[in-house]
């Protein structure tokens, strides 16, 4: 048995992991959690908007000079971006491949329909897609500023205000924030289960944590467009 174990382990653990449903799901969980971590930080950063333009813009500048002189200007940012990109791609690809497999494993539906908890899975799927599209739009809006009405580099505060002063952009954001909430609500607990962190005793606590996290993120993110729309921030 031990020899079998060794030979089975050596060729490439990662390949075997990636090939198995459980392993691929773990990749999805880890990449998801990485993005989740980013979002928490990002949400907190965004809240600086309530302390005025200088605070937020300063923060944006600091992000770029972070790590100097060891790192050069914007290096930290690019490293983070690389990480995020990897996460989003791995996450998206595994999500896609697993979803394909899951649908194939249950080709014919039951004639007698019930509202099933597969609700969670379905929202995860389209919610994820919405998030993917949003991220693209969002980067064009506030990073590359391609679609931003204000488009002033180094001035995120003004850009954000500009962005949220037209209704369709607000709609996009609000929808995306709700998607984030739903996605994290199931995603966080799901990741714990996938990575084997859950057990009979922790199950409840983890579900609570997931709901809390989802709520905080959504509210935190939403506060910004709402503030702009209500004129609290301008």
């Amino acid at each position: 048995m031990t020899t079998a174990t060794r030979t089975a382990r050596h060729p490439s653990t990662l390949v075997t992991l990636w090939r198995s449903t459980v392993g691929k799901k773990a990749v999805m969980a880890v990449s998801g959690l990485v993005m989740l971590l980013y979002l928490v930080a990002h949400m907190l950063g965004n809240l600086k908007i309530f302390f005025g333009p200088d605070e937020l813009n300063g923060y944006a500048h600091w992000l770029r000079t972070l790590g100097e002189p060891f790192l050069r200007y914007e290096w930290f940012l690019w490293i983070a971006r690389a990480g995020l990109l990897a996460a989003v791609v791995l996450h998206g690809v595994s999500a896609y491949q697993l979803s394909r497999r899951d649908i194939a494993a249950r080709p014919s539906k039951y004639v007698h329909k019930r509202r099933r908890a597969s609700y969670a899975t379905r929202t995860m799927r389209w919610g994820g897609v919405i998030l993917g599209l949003f991220i693209v739009w969002h980067i064009l809006d506030l990073t590359t500023l391609t679609v931003n009405p204000n488009a002033e580099h180094g001035k995120p505060y003004q850009n954000i205000v500009a962005s949220f002063s037209n209704w369709y952009s607000c709609v996009i954001y609000v929808v995306a924030m709700l998607a984030v909430g739903l996605h994290v609500r199931h995603g966080f607990w799901s990741a714990a289960q996938t990575l084997g962190a859950s057990n009979a005793r922790r199950e409840k606590a983890l579900k609570l944590a997931a709901n809390g996290l989802a709520l905080v993120l959504t509210v935190g993110f939403l506060s910004v467009p709402v503030a702009v729309m209500t004129g609290v921030v301008s």
Partner: protein, 245 residues
């Protein structure tokens, strides 16, 4: 009671199937669901129609043979096996939909009968402890802590009915597989094969065409033996540990 049954009829594995409607009358609330189907079949036979094929044997909720989706729920409204479900849980005049387990790893053989041999192959891939007859030490050579023994028992209760797969929106066999992995991996006797067991069983599960787990928890809700959802987390833990550690 008088009931209207809408039952999935399918002549053979490759034949097309469809829901067919039947009326049954004089059903006693004390009948088990299978006895209600017996009553229908007796009628069908005397009429010269082909009776509805369904798997069953012990009719005590322990062999795991009986399995059908009743009104969209595996094993029906109560948390038990179909043979232990009694008609008193239905009302006179009800319409009841009866369908086979649905999963591409469980192809329909006929009517409500499906092929669950994939489960046997999963067990064969590692769901055992290698102990050739005669090689065993005295039973008391290795004491087993009570809670390990209890956990093992709780998971060994799985009857291999397949309701977890039938209920899972992804036709996933995670609950079934984790039940056996946990049963054997918590025991000292199971330790030597601990790593290869989980890895081989997960590989077999994937090879059989079961879906992945999206942690929707439908399986544990449907399981007549109450195999708990965290067992899946435990198996994931065992799997990751065995591949990484």
């Amino acid at each position: 009671m008088n009931l209207t049954l809408r039952i999935w009829r399918q002549a053979g594995p490759d034949a097309p199937g469809s829901m067919t409607t039947y009326k049954v009358s004089g059903i006693s609330p004390d009948m088990s669901f299978l006895e209600m189907l017996d009553t229908l079949n007796e009628e069908l036979i005397t009429r010269g129609d082909t009776p509805v094929a369904f798997d069953h044997d012990c009719r005590e909720g322990i062999c795991g043979a009986c399995g059908m989706v009743i009104n969209g729920q595996a094993h029906g409204p109560e948390r038990t096996t179909t043979c232990q479900l009694h008609m008193r849980h239905f009302k006179d005049g009800d319409t009841i939909d009866i369908e086979p387990w649905r999963a591409s790893a469980f192809p329909v053989v006929k009517d409500l009968v499906v092929d669950r041999s994939a489960f046997d192959r999963i067990i064969g891939s590692g769901g055992y402890i290698t102990a050739p007859t005669g090689s065993a030490p005295d039973a008391h050579a290795t004491p087993v802590p009570k809670e390990a023994a209890d956990t093992a028992f709780e998971h060994a209760e799985c009857i291999g009915c397949g309701a977890c797969v039938a209920a899972c929106p992804n036709g996933s066999a995670m609950l079934f597989t984790s039940a056996k992995v946990v049963h054997l991996n918590v025991l000292p006797q199971g330790a030597p094969e601990r790593k290869s067991r989980v890895r081989n069983m997960v590989a077999a599960m994937d090879a059989e065409g079961f879906g992945g787990c999206t942690n929707t928890g439908e399986c544990a809700t449907a399981c007549p033996k109450g195999i708990p959802l965290p067992s899946i987390a435990a198996m994931n833990r065992e799997f990751l540990r065995s591949s990484l550690g």
